[in-house]
Amino acid sequence: MGEPTTGKIIVFSVLTAMVIGGGLGVVFLRNVFHALVAMVVCFLGVAGVYFSLQADFLAVMQVLIYVGAVAVVIAFAVMLTRRGTMADSNRFVASGLQLAIGAAVAAGVGVALLRLICETAWQASGKFPATDVTRFLGEALLTRLPIPFEIAAVLLLVALVGAVMIALEEVHKS
């Protein structure tokens, strides 16, 4: 990776601002739907961090799964289960007690993670950093691990069948 250059510092600053700003938006925006949009910004920032760490596959996964799928499902869930006025739907914002508990838990997790990072004796690998991770993954998945690859398809099949069964019941009820 080398020494941090000005470009890298700018990229890292912008991405960090996206992640932290998005995260704060999720907590503090009064409209749950706006909080969801802030969450998407946060997810995109995390994807950018993965990109800047040269983990392209992880970054693409982050965009496809979190920005694509998770955000869409949450958006539908919000629109389906809405109660009261949308402008004041993020009920946790107004409650000082809940914010205090949340902040305390977040601070505790943060301190624990920082301690873990600082106290672990990280070892630098002597191996050359892997390039073209996606191709490497593809080759591993299809030559050495074909059975797990197909089982993943079966797992998705089961997930879809289960989801359709449960959701259709609700549709018929309404």
Binding site: T134, A153, L156
Partner: protein, 120 residues
Amino acid sequence: MLQQDYLTLAVYPLVIIGFSVFVLALAWVLRAKPPKTPLKQSAYECGVPTRGETWVRFRVAYYLYALVFVVFDVEIIFLYPWAVALKRLGLFAYIEAIIFILILLVALGYAWKEGALEWK
């Protein structure tokens, strides 16, 4: 991928955001700025004043589409490394992926049969 490629990638969002801001700013500079009277703020010609809330509750049937979408979104994650590695792997990998897609086609067939794709 090289660092240079990411720079190319970063140019796209920058151009998109820059263009949007530029066009909006240009419109703001060029447009007339009349005083904001209630009449000026009202819906113009083809608009009808809204009654009640503008946030509506979605129909539950939408959720099925979201669920089906999520499953096929996850499928893409598996097909993406396959597509990158395909050239070097040849026929066997191709057949593996066909089986993968066929298994998921069964899922689509089930959703179709159960009427999850129908709009009622």
